[in-house]
């Protein structure tokens, strides 16, 4: 009975079910109040800021909008942003997979500490994240003098921006994979080994197909963060127009120069990126739910 009933209920929307039963629903005025407060909050803090980006971007017409996007400094900012993401996302993808594999497939001392350390970049202020690289690589830093001798520029140059981006996106893939691999357990991989599969075969044929959605999820989120990072990148960039400006930094410069329409035009690109990210994220969640049923 229980199984069939549960099945039946699963087909129904849970919210509908809860709302239809005396024991699990509130008085109508309570519901209206809660829903009203929640949606007003949602509209003021999420919808309005999103809308204002696009409205301000087009405030001076399509012409100004497009001009702001195709001017050379903007294009070089796009290039640098893409470059930073193209380097940091794959690096952290490999790291995330390796870390998740080590953590979920083996037992060793200090595992819990390692998990905490992986999460560390999330709790460090982006400004501090930038600062640590300045302390290591700047001319006053640990290896700054050596870099200077060999004419390698890290801080106020592209490598610094890439490093800062790598730092802030370290945890994304790992933290999606670890809980999933933990939940799935080791049995399937152990079965593969018993059946004669070797190292990489186990990973490619057994593990990877099971975690591809989580992997994509982590990649999407870390990509959004990589392209949108502001604080950390701002510290190491030096704000050299056309050279060390990413899109978010370019937005800042335009804004501080009171070129509001142009600033919002570039910002609208980033807002679109955010919307695409959310759409893909929702799609992945939907697919994962489908696969689960």
């Amino acid at each position: 009975m229980a199984a069939i009933t549960a099945n039946l209920y699963a087909q129904h929307d849970r919210a509908a079910l809860l709302e239809n039963r005396q024991a699990t629903r509130e008085a109508r005025w309570v519901k209206v109040t809660i829903l009203g407060a929640a949606l007003t909050f949602f509209a003021i803090f999420l919808l309005l800021p999103l809308a204002v980006v696009f409205v301000e971007a087009l405030a001076k017409g399509w012409h100004t909008y497009l001009d702001a996007l195709v001017e050379p400094d903007a294009l070089s900012a796009v290039t640098l942003t893409l470059l930073a993401a193209l380097i940091s996302v794959p690096l952290n993808l490999v790291f995330g997979v390796a870390a998740a594999w080590a953590i979920t497939r083996f037992d060793f001392r200090g595992k819990q500490l390692l998990i905490t350390l992986i999460d560390l970049p999330f709790s460090v202020s982006p400004v501090v994240a930038g600062l640590i690289y300045v302390l290591v690589f700047s001319s006053h830093g640990w290896i700054g003098p050596w870099l200077l001798e060999h004419d390698i520029k890290v801080i106020f140059a592209v490598p610094g921006i890439v490093l800062a981006t790598v730092f802030v996106t370290v945890p994304f893939v790992a933290r999606e994979l670890i809980p999933l691999l933990q939940a799935q357990g080791r049995e399937e991989e152990e079965a593969a080994v018993v059946l004669g599969a070797r190292g990489w075969q186990v990973f490619w044929h057994v593990t990877l197909p099971n975690v591809r959605w989580a992997l994509l999820y982590g990649v999407i989120l870390s990509n959004a963060r990589a392209m949108g990072e502001f604080g950390a990148v701002s510290v190491v960039s030096g704000h050299i127009r056309g050279e060390t400006n990413t899109l978010p930094l370019h937005v800042e410069i335009l804004y501080n120069e009171y070129q509001f329409a142009a600033a919002f035009a570039v910002a609208s690109l980033l807002a679109l990126l955010a919307l695409v990210t959310l759409a893909v994220k929702s799609w992945i969640e939907w697919r994962a739910a489908q696969a689960h049923d």
Binding site: A23, K31, F95, L135, E190
Partner: protein
Amino acid sequence: MTKAPTLPRVLPGFGLSLGFTLTYLSLVVLIPLAAVFIRASSLSLEAFWDAVTAPRVLASYQLSFGMALLAAAINTVFGLLLAWSLVRYRFPGKKLVDALVDLPFALPTAVAGIALTALYAGNGWLGQYLEPLGIKVAFGPLGVLVALVFIGLPFVVRTVQPVLEDLETELEEAATSLGAHRWQTFRHVILPVLQPALMTGFALAFARAVGEYGSVIFIAGNIPMVSEITPLMIISKLEQYDYAGATAIASVMLVASFLLLLAINGLQAWQARRNGRSE
């Protein structure tokens, strides 16, 4: 967890994966972070103390931590209402609302910063109604609060939502059949189950808000002693090439981050225990 380190490992790649993980993490995260403390320790105690307790810096702690606390509290209340609505009510556009809750995770902070400023400036969509009432949001401490509420919004929703979804309806039914009113059921049965998740969400939102930079600096106005956040103090020290001062303040922030991280880990462990089904 059973430990059998003496047995040969069945699955391959232990050395490779753990070795790579540790090397990478050390190079990218741990060694650079250690630089802060090593640099800070090279300061004399007096110089360190002066740097981290300068009046402007003290004012910035008060603002950063105070507003972060307030923002996290606001997000706890409204995050619970949003999560509750998403799980328990039907309304048009629900899927869209659910997807957009994560906007602050996906939207670059600089974009959020200028958007919020445009909204709350004196001539903005909301500012034009608020300023005549004497409520000045943009370019002041209230602006900091608004930005911190924005970036912390998803945390409470996303920690509470799954717990609400998994909440057994039988618990509420049992309470009601025993004569409890709806509020009593919420207060004595539902809220205790949600409590660890609420606290975790609060701590996550708080931790994020304390260190936030991008969304705040545009709307804060950055008035010394009034609306300067701590991360901005680090930046301004750096701009004056006062690396020692920047490092000192950064080490204070890092210690705060570590403590928060520990607290969050503790809370999550508690939550896992609370929600562990005993049947």
